[in-house]
């Protein structure tokens, strides 16, 4: 293995350039988290301490940790990119997509989670519905958590490589082993400490970007004016005004999708039942602290657009005018060597942050990645130990045995995540979509939990089948919108399996069909092919073996190779629609199946002709081009998307939101239907778990300004006002 030095490329050719002071700031952060982990080990010796931080957290720490667990760097970069791409619509995730659900968690659900003293959300399912639901939820959660952790790890390493030129392998191993050490030592307490630390770092590291951006743009109104002037005819500055029709906004989403999909199904599923989030507030020192901590989290969440949405909007207002930079979709940016939407936040950081400040900003991003990883690992250790290992494998072990299991789980979870990170380099599409499936899993979970809390007639069988049906429906909807019954026809960049071989065949026109295809390429593409074949890149790309594939996967895509691939795919797709591709002479040496030989292409039109031509080309270049697929995970079938999201123009996000909503309805419907025909648990067994039966603990009198309901109402009113202001 020939590792390039960690900081070798940081001095040139990358988006951000760090000075020694910046690197010192980053190193100090790593040292600090390891010191904290080592220090907290003595405070994590029992199960209650290791898995639940001793249930001693104050409201402020619970709230900060609750919101930090969700404030990862991928999130900040991703939603800044959304703001650049979709304008104010990108802020919905922090308003209707979060606040109502968080307030609901605080006021309605938290009392039940808290008074049943469970360790986890699957633990609540066990108490309310029985072992079947708990194990189903526990196994799904642990499986998904480590996989997502691995995918995020790879994403982090890729971002650091892209921005700073850091070696991907070193980034993965250094960050993950650091997380493994401090979580294994201090458990949830350590994860929470680092989340609170990260909260300060991310705010103090990024807040200067919107401050200086607003100074440069001439304030908020100046920013809005610049955006409107640069994008005539497109409304980038409204939250709701352009959502009357799916075709009026770039997301392709009707307001109903935003309200019921994001605001109800996804948001409530994520904030009320994703254990990664809920674990933080369940560990508070009292019910009131848990509720107020959750509400503090809501307030902080509403402020996040200042460091996420605002930099994206400022990028839209300033980057093109002042720096001549127009950001592009990822594939276009790669093909042209330009900047992508996802780089808006780093670009804005590079614009305003000098030495020292840039180090703080990059540290904030690394801290965001690592605390997200720590959150996943600690949640994995808890659910695995209490909801899978204890009920299924070792029911009556002493407490110290489970603590030991939790420590080992933290390390093993990180190692599995590392394997997943490397796997995601080779099978990126499948693993990236796992994150969407996680989203779809927690929505049915919310349906089952909320029915269990609010309806005492919900039965164990109803809970189990509701969860199973909702999850299965989510997966089926995902497959359906990516399913192409007539096969997905156009070539994509990834369909060119062996670019050097294809380029050489076309360039040398070694066969009649290669000569024909080559003649039909545009002059620019032919020139790109000639340059590419004559370069030394061809030899490097033809090296075989798993390690070489991994090395190629982690390398920054070569802009020249991307340009060749993109141009070739574009011209091949043009060829698909042309009649007359097939002649007996042209395909004389090509192995075609019987059906293809008997087809008369002159009678084929549009999509049938394209399908036939693609089969011909794949037959002519079987080692270089991939065949058609019925399931294409990166493309939406618009006809199927219309059935799910009400519009053929619906984009991924709109489809996800509507799928989540249908899944929630199906889950609730199944719980009700099955419960009507099965036996509920007696009241005595569920008296602490269901609304109306659970006596809420009396925490004594407190002044009005400490009451959760009062603050929940205040936050709700502020949410409405913000939506009206930016309507």
């Amino acid at each position: 293995m020939n590792f390039t030095p960690l900081f070798a490329a940081a001095s040139g050719g990358t988006l951000l350039r760090l000075t020694p002071v910046d690197l010192l700031i980053i190193v100090i952060y790593f040292v600090m988290v390891l010191i904290i982990g080592g220090y907290l080990r003595k405070y994590a010796s029992t199960g209650e301490e290791f898995f639940m931080a001793g249930r001693k957290m104050t409201a402020w720490i619970a709230g900060l940790s609750f919101i930090s667990a969700n404030l990862s760097s991928l999130e900040t970069m991703g939603w800044s990119a959304m703001a650049y791409q979709y304008g104010m619509l990108g802020a919905h995730a922090y308003l209707i997509g979060a606040i109502p659900a968080i307030l609901f968690l605080a006021v309605v659900m938290m009392p039940f989670y808290y008074i049943c003293k469970t360790h986890s959300v699957p633990g609540y399912l066990k108490l309310r519905y029985g072992e079947g639901s708990r194990v189903l939820a526990g196994v799904s959660f642990t499986f998904m958590t480590v996989l997502v952790c691995g995918v995020n790890m790879f994403a982090m390493a890729s971002v650091l490589h892209l921005l700073l030129g850091w070696n991907i392998h070193v980034s993965i191993w250094v960050s993950s082993l650091t997380v493994a050490v401090y979580v294994a030592l201090g458990g949830l307490l350590s994860a929470v400490f680092n989340e609170v630390l990260q909260f300060f770092l991310i705010w103090l590291g990024i807040l200067l970007v919107p401050i200086l951006g607003l100074v440069e743009a001439g304030g908020l109104s100046g920013m809005m004016d610049r955006i409107n002037a640069a994008n005539p005819g497109t409304n980038f500055t409204s939250l709701w005004a352009n959502m009357g029709s799916a075709s009026d906004n770039p997301m392709g989403m009707h307001w109903t999708g935003m309200v019921f999909g994001l605001g109800l199904a996804v948001s409530f599923g994520y904030w009320c039942t994703d254990f990664l989030q809920v674990q933080r507030v369940m560990a508070a020192k009292s019910l009131r602290a848990a509720q107020n901590g959750t509400i503090i989290g809501a307030v902080l969440k509403m402020c996040v657009p200042i460091i996420v949405t605002l930099p994206g909007l400022l990028g839209l207002a300033i980057l093109q005018e002042k720096a001549g930079i127009k950001l592009l979709p990822e594939h276009e940016a790669q093909a042209t060597g330009g900047y992508s939407y996802n780089q808006v936040l780093p670009l804005m950081m590079a614009r305003y942050l000098g030495p020292g400040l840039l180090g703080l900003g990059v540290t904030a991003m690394i801290a965001g990645f690592m605390s997200g990883m720590a959150g996943n690992v600690s949640a994995f250790a808890t659910v695995w130990t209490y909801d899978v290992y204890q009920p299924l494998l070792n029911r009556n072990a002493p407490d110290r045995h489970y603590v030991s299991m939790g420590r080992w789980c933290s390390i093993i979870g990180v190692l599995i995540a590392i394997v997943t990170a490397y796997a995601s380099m080779l099978f990126s599409n499948i693993l990236v979509y796992l994150q969407v499936l996680v989203l779809f899993f927690i929505v049915p979970l919310f349906g089952v939990v909320i029915m269990g809390m609010l309806w005492k007639q919900a039965t164990p069988a109803g809970g189990f089948w509701g969860l199973a049906t909702g999850t299965l429906a989510s997966i089926c909807m995902f497959l359906y919108v990516h399913w192409f019954p007539g096969w997905y026809v156009p070539f994509m960049e990834k369909d060119v399996k062996d670019l050097p071989a294809l380029a050489q065949k076309l360039h040398s026109a070694s066969t009649p069909i290669a000569a024909h295809v080559s003649q039909n390429l545009s002059p620019q593409t032919r020139q790109l092919l000639a340059d590419f074949v004559g370069s030394d890149k061809v030899g490097a790309m033809q090296q075989k073996g798993l390690w070489n594939r991994l090395q190629q996967a982690v390398r920054t895509p070569d802009p020249e190779v991307l340009r060749v691939r993109t141009a070739l795919v574009k011209d091949l797709n043009s060829l698909l629609n042309q009649p007359g591709l097939y002649t007996a002479e042209r395909f004389s040496g090509v192995s075609l199946d019987q059906a293809a030989r008997q087809t008369d292409p002159s009678k084929l039109k549009s999509e049938d002709l394209a399908r036939f031509n693609r089969r011909l080309l794949v037959s002519a270049f079987p080692a270089e081009l991939a065949p058609m697929r019925k399931l294409e995970a990166t493309q939406l079938n618009p006809r199927h998307a219309e059935h799910i999201a009400t519009s053929p123009k619906a984009q991924d996000m709109a489809v996800n939101m509507f799928s989540a909503f249908w899944s929630l309805l199906l889950t609730i419907g199944t719980v009700i239907m099955v419960s009507l025909f099965t036996r509920p648990k007696p009241d005595s067994e569920i008296k602490h778990l269901v609304y109306g039966l659970a006596p809420l603990p009396d925490e004594g009198q407190c002044p009005w300004y400490e009451k959760p309901v009062f603050w929940a109402a205040v936050v709700g009113v502020v949410l409405v006002i913000v939506n009206i202001i930016f309507w």
Binding site: V21, L24, I25, I28, Y29, M32, I36, Y39, Y43, A53, G54, K56, M57, T58, I61, L189, V192, F193, V196, L197, F200, L204, L208, I211, L212, V215, E216, K285, K322, A350, R351, Y352, L353, G354, P355, G356, L357, G359, L360
Partner: protein, 73 residues
């Protein structure tokens, strides 16, 4: 975590880290004021590193002193 008798609160760690970062950033800011760089970031003339570094020191010291180890809650 309540601020128990023995456990150093998270706020102290945050204060210490911010103070160190503030000193470093303020130091770099003063150095670049005396030796202006050739390639400047946008709005360099606002000297954000100086006042941001000072802000970090203030916040950091408040937390570090208020929650220092051994101080009764």
């Amino acid at each position: 975590m309540e601020h128990g008798h023995h456990q150093v609160p998270i706020w102290f760690f945050i204060g210490a880290l911010l103070t160190v970062y503030g000193v470093l950033i303020l130091g770099v800011g003063i150095y670049s004021l005396a030796n202006p760089p050739i390639q400047k970031v946008a709005l360099w003339e606002k000297h954000a590193d100086i006042w941001w570094g000072a802000l970090l020191i203030i916040i950091g010291l408040i937390y570090a002193i208020r929650f220092r180890p051994g101080r009764s809650p």
